[in-house]
Symmetry: C2
Subunit: 120 residues, 2 copies
DNA sequence: TCTACGTTTCAACAATGGTTGAAATGTTGA
DNA sequence: TCAACATTTCAACCATTGTTGAAACGTAGA
């Protein structure tokens, strides 16, 4: 369960053009992640600069990394992104379900496979 | 549909202790909102400082305001918060539904009334 | 109109954050 | 061990941001 301090750090990390691109690139890349070098090229920043931002994102808990040969592979921390979203909307309803139903619907629409509507 | 520039502004706005508290206070307060003065007391900042942060949040599109007597009532912009969440997770699945299912489940659990499971 | 109240604007300051190039670290294959 | 590669660290600079108190603005009621 995320606390305020962590949430501030996470949002601050995402509130920067290059870092938001990095996270979105990694989210899109999926669990396998991407090497730092390719990430730098994809996002359009220097190696030095990417390293700075990756350190920030790592410290905020939004990305993870592993070494693979000479490369270091970064990947999105999906569980922490979930926690962050949940923190932002926590206590939003106050009994009024309709207030935040659109947010639920939007996220569900983004992530629920069409056709395969298994309720599990 | 939110673009990158808006998302960066929104996340940057949320990435500050006092502003995150303000937004959460307003989210908790519900659609009726709160007067600026009560908000300042609840969050623990001076009037001047609150005004500064509210301007930032307004510019980021995360809060709205209306005058009521001498007070100005601020309230959370729920649709924009939904958009922001959706932007962050957009394209996350890449065919792998299980990757972001936890985020959907977390948000749904927060906002779905227990017992009353109307699918509307 | 006058006074009190709630909120915002302004100007100044201290602190933080992003970018850059050069140098250091760690890894691989010859 | 050596040279080439991938990434990080370091130090310096410039720009942005958060905070503060005083002053200004707009509204309500006497």
């Amino acid at each position: 369960m995320m606390d305020e301090r962590q949430a501030v750090a996470a949002f601050a990390a995402l509130g920067q053009e290059h870092r938001l691109r990095i996270v979105r690139q990694l989210v899109t890349a999926g669990p396998d992640g991407m090497a730092a070098g390719m990430l730098a090229e994809a996002v359009g920043v220097s190696g030095t600069n990417l390293s700075f931002h990756l350190k920030e994102l790592t410290h905020a808990g939004l990305v993870g990394s592993r070494r693979e040969g000479r490369s270091i592979i970064y990947s999105a921390a999906y569980p922490d992104l979930s926690d962050l979203i949940q923190f932002l909307m926590r206590d939003c309803c106050q009994g009024r379900h309709e207030v935040c139903a659109p947010a639920v619907a939007a996220l569900a629409a983004c992530c629920t496979p069409t056709g395969d509507d298994s309720h599990a």
